[in-house]
């Protein structure tokens, strides 16, 4: 099937098999390998991207379902060579170790923080239930998301 998907501001038209997952389309067809795959049951959240303004696990979406959508991946978050405030705060707060969950964690966190600059510890922890990290014990991720949310000031 033919799909047209805008990814990080650029429109891509491609022929895809109906069964191809959006995450495979991003990684294999568009070579956007920043979106990682950590499981096959939609638990880990490593593949989280933004679709039309929502944080979505891209392993749960078929590429054909994203036809006509606007997708942002981790590669599209920084602009003009400047890290997004959430990327910056993950760096500042040591919110990552191996880095594999990080793209999904940051994409989920941006959406969590967008409407709430004053996220509490508990709000962050519950908001990130669907994103697994095996390295950090989450503590610095929580700090990073709170700091990132404050820096975003309720904007995207």
């Amino acid at each position: 099937m033919r799909v047209s998907i805008e990814v990080n501001g650029q429109t891509h038209e491609r022929e895809v098999e109906p069964r191809v997952l959006l995450v495979d389309f991003l990684r294999n067809d568009l070579a956007l390998t920043g979106t990682n795959v950590g499981c096959d049951t939609s638990q880990c959240g490593a593949c989280t991207v933004h679709i039309d303004g929502l944080a979505v696990k891209s392993c749960t979406v078929l590429a054909v379902q994203a036809d006509g959508s606007n997708v942002t991946t981790i590669e599209g978050l920084a602009s003009d060579g400047q890290l997004h405030p959430m990327q910056q705060s993950f760096w500042d707060m040591h919110g990552l170790q191996c880095g594999f969950c990080t793209p999904g964690m940051i994409m989920a966190s941006v959406k969590l923080a967008e409407s709430n600059p004053g996220l509490s510890d508990s709000e962050v922890r519950h908001g990130l239930e669907g994103n697994f990290c095996r390295c950090t014990g989450y503590q610095n991720i929580v700090k990073a998301v709170q700091a990132g949310a404050a820096a975003m000031g309720g904007r995207s």
Binding site: D40, L96, Q97, C98, F100, C101, G137
Partner: protein, 786 residues
Amino acid sequence: MTKYMGTAVRRVEDPRFLQGRGKYVANLSLPGMVHVAVKRSPLAHARIKSIDTSQAEALDGVIAVFTGEDFMEGGCGTLPCGFTPPDIDLPLHHPVAIDKVRHVGDEVAVVVAETPYIAEDALDLIDVDYDPLPAVVDTRQAGGEWPVVHDGMDSNVSFHWPLGDEEATNQALADSDRVIELEVINQRLIPNAIEPRACVAQWDRFDETMTVWTTSQNPHTIRLLLGAFTLGIPEHKLRVVSPDVGGGFGSKIFHYPEEVIVPWVAREVDRPAKWVSSRSEAYVTDRHGRDHVTKAKLGVSDDGTITALHVTTWANMGAYLSTFAPLIPTALYVTLLSGLYKIPTIFGEAYGAITNTVPVDAYRGAGRPEASYLLETIIDVAARELEMDPVELRRKNLIQPDEFPYQTPVALEYDSGDYPRLFDKIDELSGYESLREEQEKARAEGRLVGVGFASCIEASGPAPSAAAVGLGAAIGLFESGSIRVHPTGKISAFTGSHAHGQGHETTFAQIVADQFGVPMEDVEIIHGDTDRIQYGVGTYGSRSAAIGGSALVRSAEKIRTKLKELAAHLLEASVDDMVYDQDEGAVYVTGSPDSKKTFAELAFAVTTADKMPEGMEPGLEETTFYDPANFTFPYSAHVAQVEIDRDTGEVEVQKYFAVDDVGNVINPMIVEGQIIGGIAQGVGQALWEHGIYDEEGQLLSGSMLSYAMPRADGFPSIAVDRVETPSPHNPLGVKGAGEMGTIAATVTISNAVLDALAPLGIRHLNMPLTAEKISNAMAAANGGGE
């Protein structure tokens, strides 16, 4: 010039991870690449009667299908075991099964196709006819007849490893006021590094060279095993690269069948080949951890003095002996049974049992968490029976600061420590007394609040090579570090350690920059590529800073010595009068810093090489193979407060405090991250995680749906602090930091839960301490049964 040691420098590797540019193996794509998928056994134990691959081969886009016979006839050897204690009975492990399958997930056939989707489709078209056999799942295999898993073995017991004086221990137990007996299970865990394993291989048929990219913690070891045992391509024709690796926790140390399959396929079809594990595959192939059944007896006097310890452990090794598997329940477990305490006599023994389950090998802590769990659990039982405070009982038995080096009855000689100070510090950080007061009040209100305490030791930084090989290791466990100073004074430092989350690109650059007094930005750390790094043993057992870091320090010292000789020559002074000022990054005559030669000037001087002292070679590069004198012995005391919901049995971790001594600290931010991350894994084992097999050998917790991974909302904010006693054994004074959190947290949480349940008369529960298990135990304690 900034001194970097001890500074919380932000990580230099982070910008690529933050922007989705991590160089993970699964991101690699090579022109003409084929995709490999593995057909796996759905049965735990069965003879393979026949395999029909014809339908799979006929599928459009399938290039080839191979079975075990193809790999054997094609020159693949069996996967070796790298630690073989005396009298071990070694099972054979073919990369793809030949005659029998021995665990769910065992490799049966291999599909090579144009796309990963087609390869998956073809797996369903392979028809395997099995003759099922009874599965061996129980670790102790007690009662009744059990089939032998490997035809070549006499029984399923692969090895027995005793240590210590059993007669003296039994006598001391007989003479003790009390003997505390306890049987515990340290449950099976599944590592779950968030990056699934992956392998890519490229064969060059003209040079006859093979490049293998693999998610490994130790690429040189993989190259050695591929070259000498499994693939049969000579080591100098093999390049193994482990670029960014998304977490390991032990599970990426080992030589896996797919690391043989993928390069073999690449050569066979003469195209680059790629395999990426799915999470489902990871559950049934990544080597699992722990899985011990233990019977222990602790002798104590009525005043709380520990007199003796006797431990018998059955360790479930799974279907094959993985690369380091027999090491874990032996030399990394029995030797740690003395903990922080003066125990006059200890006897410990481990049996290694082969079963029809996924092989078990090192998982974060590897043997040491099992030892701490046992010792710290039985000490708590003793404290309850003696009606003593558990901290007071421990304090009474601590090794004192003036007793180092301390020789334990189980082989190890502890290097340094101040255990009473550790106890003072955790007291202060946690407010232990007030936690107990709060608990009293809570109990009076009928609430189930528990306070858990554990004090643990780790032998980190394996290991002096002579000791390691003497115990059964196949290779020495030293590490290499090479420093190349470029003509402009910029530095490339090559380490055999491998970072997969630990931040070596930052911490090792801190070490090297300080050695010369240059900015960190002038130092690049290179790791993970056998073509670039001279040799490497790799990263596990909390060994990188102590051994890999020390190798770099020694190389830097050699370079500084050369630069002092060169500067003496250029300044027409005696070398004995020269000082290398590591703050300034310059060499001068002692007391005359104004006429100095800077590091950059000297680096260029060895490049022009026109004014060299007689006999000195141009160039500036040194390599060290650093063999440690001993393990290092980090230790810790942790305190947790939990509350159990009386209705549901659910545990809430309310407070957590940790004090660790990891020696000198290179980067406190990174060390704290390692400790807290380790604690999370310990809490995971204590409360949630469990690799469960049914009687038929089916893994019931075989996905992230059924295996309870720790989530962000499972933890309180954790408070950490340190005591620092430098290790006397290495030039950095560092001890391992990677595993201490896990070692201590597992039993701290378990002790807290059991402390909460003690008023109900519940003596012991095995982990994981799930709501279901606790609520059943509470019901039983109330006389209601389940």
